[in-house]
Amino acid sequence: MLNFSDLLPYTDQLLKGLWVTVELTVYATLGGVAIGTAGAAGRHYGGNLLRGMIGMYVELIRNTPFIVQLFFIFFGLPALGIKLSAWEAGLIAMLINLGAYSTEIIRAGLAATPKGQVEAAKVLGLSPQQAFFRVVLIPAFEKIYPALTSQCIIVMLGSAVVSQISVMDLTYAANLIQSRNFRSFEVYLVVAAMYLVLAILMRQAFDALGRYLFRHRRSS
């Protein structure tokens, strides 16, 4: 017999875990997209050396498993004297991971910006930085916004892996609860639903932000 009421005593743990997941996701999304923007700018405008280094970073992260990256940061780096809490290691792994994927996504947006708009900014006297932030960036984001949204949601869902280094996130809470009350079916069903709701809310938040950033589109 299914029994969801056995979960009630653990509501607190679930909510705490949910909060950790939300917190990690917010920081990772903001930081990861910032890293991606900087990386894309470096790869698009930078010199050969910078472009090569960013390219290596992107390929290294995109071609290795997230859980290995996470274990390397948490279990491997202490060998170099870098000791991080589980929460810090989890966040850094997410930042580095989203940073690499979003570099590649945002770069595609930059590449799709018409050259004429950059020239127009230049002959109006804008500095390269002004041209980038005021002229290029928003239309570039507009073009890749759906892909970027999906990638951020993937990272949120992927954050479940940080429970493996004992970050007390939503999945960690689920594992703990089912080990106590043996209600695996119920626990994982509820937690899966919570992730689903998180993903839907996240997409709605992105859509709302997009409607604001790309408000010129509504006019047409």
């Binding site: 018409p114 020239e119 006297g125 390269p128 239309p139 010129h216 006019s219």
Partner: protein
Amino acid sequence: MALVNIDKVHKYYGDLHVLKGVDLKIQAGEVVSIIGRSGSGKSTLLRCMNGLEAYQEGAIILDNKEVSSDERQVRALARSVGMVFQSFNLFPHLTVGENVMLAPKLVLKQSAEDARKMALDKLTKVGLAEKFDQYPDKLSGGQQQRVAIARALAMSPKVLLCDEITSALDPELVGEVLKVLEELAAEGMTLVLVTHEMNFARDVGDRVVFMHQGKVWETGPSAEVFANPSTPELRSFINAVL
């Protein structure tokens, strides 16, 4: 000294020799039309005049400043020379007003209020003040190009470069853009136009520069050049386009 001094300018794209020693002087207040077949180097010359393209030999002095493609130099030149492009190049995420106000605010450090006044003034001049809060994609091509002209004028340039600015327009929209240019010419604005509008070049322009094979092949007062071309190349060009 002339407003624009172009002295023996050579430009190469790799092995391709595009400008082969161009000499040209443009006085303040002149309206100069650069005509010629495609590939004759007329757009390249125009783009060398504000540093968008680098040239390898010779010198261009504009408003007493040496033109080079150095990033800083191009920015310094933005106060002297404006440019309007064939493809408008308005910023799609900014309203018409924001397009015009962007550079005065960021580059000339105008206050929001001053920039707004300037933008309204320039948009009124091109007849589009009522589009201030619209986004560019709601406008026709002719309207977009007029906004681009207003945007360039908001920097108070001494010379306005126009690179085939009516070539991307539907025929029925060409007139409204040419009318704006005509008004600017009447106010004494220095205009340098790369154009295929021969009637405009003849009737509004003071001077025509015919480019051929990377050189200024023939130049003179507009009416005279069209009536009595002295080189066979210009004669055949005029016969082909008129």
